[in-house]
Point group: C2
Chain length 130, copies 2
Amino acid sequence: MADSPLESIYRRYLEALNERRLDDLVDYVHDTVVYNARALTRRGYSDLIAADIQAIPDLRYVVDLLVVRADLVACRLKFDCTPRHPFSGLRPTGRAVSFAEHVFYRFHDARIAEVWSLVDKPAIEAPLSS
Amino acid sequence: MADSPLESIYRRYLEALNERRLDDLVDYVHDTVVYNARALTRRGYSDLIAADIQAIPDLRYVVDLLVVRADLVACRLKFDCTPRHPFSGLRPTGRAVSFAEHVFYRFHDARIAEVWSLVDKPAIEAPLSS
């Protein structure tokens, strides 16, 4: 199935994150965005991502499953990385971890307006070697 | 947008769960299903759901967000309930809780073949009154 326009936009958004082009978020995120029921400015949203990248320098957003229809995007993201600083309330062990995020986005006018995210915290706490 | 056939099937699957018709899972779930990377028989999958219902007698699966395309279903489910027995490794407080599940399903031949589920455990631990 060919990518929908929204799927292409979403994939470019992830590319921007992976290439650390956070200034480009203006192209993908509204001036205000509701993130897990909390209203944020785009700058506040960008700061959340910047904090994740600071804690996990090798963080890469990799699509495992992607479902797009109408104005909604649902994505299972897989992360294989080594946290270096406390992340999402968890302390790094210095070892590689593998975890997933299941995230829904509602787009308005081709930019993200609302995000609902759940992260697999138990997987972050359990190093890959366990 | 009209419901897709798969969306209708999925909504009937949730109705079966909400009406406790677990014998009907034969219509919605393959003989074997991979649940969070673990292969289960349909009976094993049904037993997981039966255990949740036993722990939370008023458990109702309510769709908050639903995205369906091709053979994939992504759903954000919302639960408002009162756990009565230990659930997902968490002890009940006797108080109502509100939490979400973000779940992806891959269907084969109109029945569930694979499931990836994340549950918002911190929300379960925090009672509604907090």
